[in-house]
Amino acid sequence: MIGLLGVFAEAWSEVRVHKARVVLSLVGVFLAVFAMTAVTALGLIVAQVQQEQAERSGGRAATIAISAYDPMTGMPADPQRWDTAVGELLGRYGVSEHATIGYGEGLFRLPGGTQSLQVMDVSPSYGPLHRIEPISGRWLREGDRTALSPSLVVNEYMLDMLGGGELTAPRTVVQGGPQPVTATIVGVVRDGYPQATVYRVDRSGMDAGATAPAGGFYGPPTLELWVPDDQADAVISAVQADLPLILPGIQVSAYRQDSPGLADSLDTLRLAVRGAGAVVLLLGGLGVFNVGMMAVRQRIREIGIRRSFGATSARVFGAIMLESVVATVLAGLAAVALAILVVDNLPLVDWFNNGVPIADEPGFPVQAAVEGLIAAAGVGALAGLLPALIAVRVKVIDAIRF
């Protein structure tokens, strides 16, 4: 124990006495660990942003999109038959996570006049499946389906069209058409789009009068199934085989809607980032190694003196090695601290995601910090190895006479 304490005391004393040399040699390691740690953390945030952007449009892995239409007319299947078929399909395969989306057009009485806007009729489960997080208010829920006033979630652009301001309390907007209704805006999302986005809870035709097609055709509604990644292909095959049997004469389309290659792409991105960090660290380590080699040659006399005090070869080796490790770990600690400070205090989401909040914002990755410290210690050990071996081979007599 005392021996270990002695090695630490000696190494610390060396670091303290040779501050300038140590600091100079550590600039490279500090920058390398900072770069590696910060870039790893940034890489994770960028990867999360990319993942969430992809999931917002295509759904989470694996999302199977299913639609059905009459091949003769191109029109959607009868809503009641469709609903029945969907219920049977979900029950048969025990799919609990699913959502629906259908596109239509609605007339809205806005301060500047009535405008026709695209409306997305979605099930409440559509939000979680697509990581949609309102910045104010709330997302749609099951109770909205039976509310007398249809619930809407709009984007900030739409809110601006309604006069702007904050959504501190639900606001209303009149949906025109043959039978106008007053809809309630219950939530606002930030999506960065320069056009209105309107989500409305699907109510199985309750507001059909208010959303009479304004001449456009938006295709059949889409059923989305969220299934385990490894079962996606099997589910697609089963749906393509079974649904036409339930809906005779109806053409069924089933395909994977999320980005199956995204995980691999993000892994490649992370790997590239870490690889770049490792190269930078290696270069920093070379700097420490160079200075360590020069320093040990200048300290040969001192090493000889210490041997005359009774320092064993192992002790000399340990002290030189630990000196290098202590120094690089200190540099690593400082670098990790700075990386945490920088990553946690910069508006990275604003920069990478146009201000759209991400649902699962990753905190500073502990793994990156730990890896940074381990890498710093490793570089210190590697850079100290050869100087330590040289120090051990020093002949005491020559060293004292040096």
Partner: protein, 235 residues
């Protein structure tokens, strides 16, 4: 029992051309506890090599060296290093203080290799020894700010801090003027005697040698008794 006993010790080195150079030949030397021995010789006579052999920094190529009755040729590196640290204190001609460390840190440095209480109380022990050599007020100074005499006194304190049984001094006054050398030598002799340690001084200065109980001459690698020399410094 004698502390150090050399019998027929020789030290040869191999030259680049393959030949052998005998630096020490048939050295017989016995040093008892608390004894003060000086070894006089010209440059190149093998004085430093003999001191290195005595201090376990080097090994003889022939003969036998007993330390407290134990043959040193069987000592392995680790035990050898430990014995060197525990039994010997070194005083060098060029002081060999660790640069940029304070006097106290220099004196405490050997205790970094000690065990137990000696390691833990090294700071206090260093200050106490510095007080004894009259440098208590200079404990915080780095060697670069000390005079030659002060530096050698720090080196003496450092040699004594582990309470060695033998102090080996290689030309301890060689880098000092006559007056300073005399006072440093007096201090060294007094401090080692106070601790009951043996002192072996290697010098080419007869006045320094005269301070010892016993004087020996090393010439062409052979050690012979020397007639009593005057304590007067030659004009």
């Amino acid at each position: 029992m004698s502390q150090l006993q050399l019998t027929g010790v020789g030290r040869d080195v191999r030259l680049p051309d393959g030949g052998l150079l005998s630096i020490l030949t048939g050295i017989d030397l016995t040093v008892g506890a608390g004894e003060h021995v000086s070894i006089v010789g010209r440059s190149g006579s093998g004085k430093s090599t003999l001191l290195n052999v005595l201090g376990l920094l080097d090994s003889p190529t022939s003969g036998e060296y007993l330390l407290d009755g134990e043959p040193t040729d069987r000592l392995r590196g680790r035990r050898r290093a430990r014995l060197r640290g525990e039994c010997f204190g070194f005083v060098f001609q060029q002081f060999n203080l660790l640069p940029r460390r304070t006097a106290a840190e220099n004196v405490a440095a050997p205790l970094l290799y000690a065990r137990g209480r000696d390691f833990l109380t090294r700071g206090r022990a260093a200050r106490e020894v510095l007080e004894r050599v009259g440098l208590g007020d200079r404990a915080g100074q780095v060697p670069e700010r000390l005079s030659g005499g002060e530096q050698q006194r720090v080196a003496i304190a450092r040699a004594l801090v582990r309470r060695p049984r033998v102090v080996l001094a290689d030309e301890p006054t060689g880098a000092l003027d006559v007056e300073t050398g005399r006072s440093v030598m007096a201090l060294l002799a007094e401090a080692t005697a106070a601790q009951g340690a043996a002192l072996i001084t290697i010098t080419h200065d007869l006045a320094v040698a005269a301070l010892a109980d016993r004087q020996l001459r090393l010439e062409a690698g052979r050690l012979t008794p020397m007639e009593q020399v005057s304590t007067e410094v030659p004009a």
